[in-house]
Amino acid sequence: MTSKSDREYEQLRLSGLHAFYGESHILHGIDMVVHRGELVTLLGRNGAGRSTTLKAIMNMVGRRTGSIMINGEETMSCAPHHIARLGVGYCPEHRGIFSSLSVQENLTLPPVVRSGGMSLEEIYNMFPNLYERRFSQGTKLSGGEQQMLAMARILRTGANMLLLDEITEGLAPVIVEKLGEVLIALKNKGLTIVLVEQNFHFAAPLADRHYVVEHGQIVEEISANELSSKQSVLDRYLGV
């Protein structure tokens, strides 16, 4: 388990983050903090701006204002490849599997940014499907296999903060279950994880805290132990 001092260490702090796609203003001042070793989820309806928040952290949206601190370092002016070098691993919503590469090439593609990542062997053990199909073209995998690949890919890099966007989408329940175990293992290794998730059933038992996003703003912060008391609030926001 993580120590007390680590718990207070701010791995990520967003303050007053605005983001735009061309003319459309998507994020309207996001404020949130993630401590080292925490697993935090972003919940919200479709189109609330959760994926955009992750992309904004990676400097992958059109225009941004506000502040993003990673490890206490301001990164608003950093190019995306710099951000990755700070130890951030990003798994995008639409998988981003490269069709010109084989499965194995896809897997070994992201450069290792820190030591301590998983080895190829460990990854293949976790996802036997990928091992079987390792020489096929990346995009010839089934939808679910591609999702596994996208997730597995960043586990190799040794990143110590993971931004994961809808990683259970399209996965069979067995695999989802296994992914849950993986996330817990990662958390135990001290990694910081920001999880965007539709599947609340999956996220609830894993997370330390939940942020609820609506119309590009954080409207609620709920910690794991408040979950039952704030269930009704949550239901309202998520439109259940």
């Binding site: 199909r133 679910g144 329940p173 067995v174 998520l238």
Partner: protein, 267 residues
């Protein structure tokens, strides 16, 4: 005797350079059923769909629609026969409004699709039906919104409405609730139920709560072959299915209210 089966495959096989993705599948979809195809990732579900709609050519085997061999028919012809699919990855016409998206589908029946001399106003008579369909998926207020501007989940809803506009005899749905919030999931379940009235639905779905609520019959695929078949109760009780697909708790369900309560209780 096969009268009651609208769609049937016989010994269907698809190989990709030696890799057998679909292995001797005999699928029988009964008229009026909502039939689910489930199975672990990479089991070959999407491939079966692709074979049924001719986006892929079978290596071997036959496909029959209402006892007629359609193995060699082309994609568009199959759609016109009444077999219409919706895509796993959202498929819309991005620079048309939501309403126009649906109108394009409705136009197929007008027989004026080659009439380049006709005024565009001749399409207005379809607007009413478009609005009904949009309303059904809760997109009425977005009728005049350009589709690119819709959030992902809404695009999927729109796509479904477009598919329904085709009045298909058989509707093929590939993960219709993927990427949707629970609110939308429930709406889609209702929608599919409504849409299924009077027609047949074949769907791939990983959300077992949806499957359990909707489906009359379930085929489980694993490694390209049929593992078992039956109704939800019998399939979900099958230990092999639990092992390869459902996992230990056997629910595999996603964030419905009931589930989140359950999971809390688990905590």
């Amino acid at each position: 005797m096969s009268e009651q089966y609208v769609l049937e495959t016989r010994n269907l096989v698809k190989e990709f350079k030696g890799f057998v993705a679909v292995d001797d599948v005999n699928l029988k979809v009964q008229k009026g059923h909502i039939h689910a195809l489930i199975g672990p990732n990479g089991a070959g579900k999407t491939t079966v769909f692709n074979l049924l709609t001719k986006f892929l050519i079978p290596t071997r085997g036959q496909i029959l629609f209402k006892d007629q061999d359609i193995t060699t028919m082309k994609s568009a012809a199959i759609a016109r026969q009444g077999i219409v699919r919706s895509f796993q990855i959202s498929a819309v016409f991005p620079h048309m409004t939501a309403l126009e998206n649906i109108r394009v589908a409705l136009q197929t029946f007008e027989g004026t699709s080659f009439s380049f001399w006709k005024s565009g106003n001749s399409l207005h008579k379809l607007n009413q039906r478009c609005m009904e369909l949009l309303d059904a998926v809760g997109l009425a207020e977005f009728a005049n919104t350009t589709t690119v501007e819709l959030a992902y989940g809404r695009k999927r809803a729109l796509e479904l409405a477009t598919t329904l506009a085709m009045e298909p005899e058989i509707l093929l749905l590939d993960e219709p609730t993927q990427g949707m919030g629970s609110e939308d999931v429930d709406r889609v379940v209702e929608l599919v139920r409504k849409a299924a009235a009077g027609r047949t639905v074949l769907m791939v779905e990983h959300n077992l709560s949806v499957v359990s609520k909707l489906c009359d019959r379930i085929t489980v695929l694993a490694q390209g072959a049929v593992l078992t078949e039956g109704d939800y109760a019998s399939v979900s009780a099958d230990p092999r299915v639990r092992e390869v697909y459902m996992g230990s708790d056997g629910s595999g369900e996603r964030g419905t209210t009931a589930d989140s309560e359950q999971s809390e209780a688990a905590q």
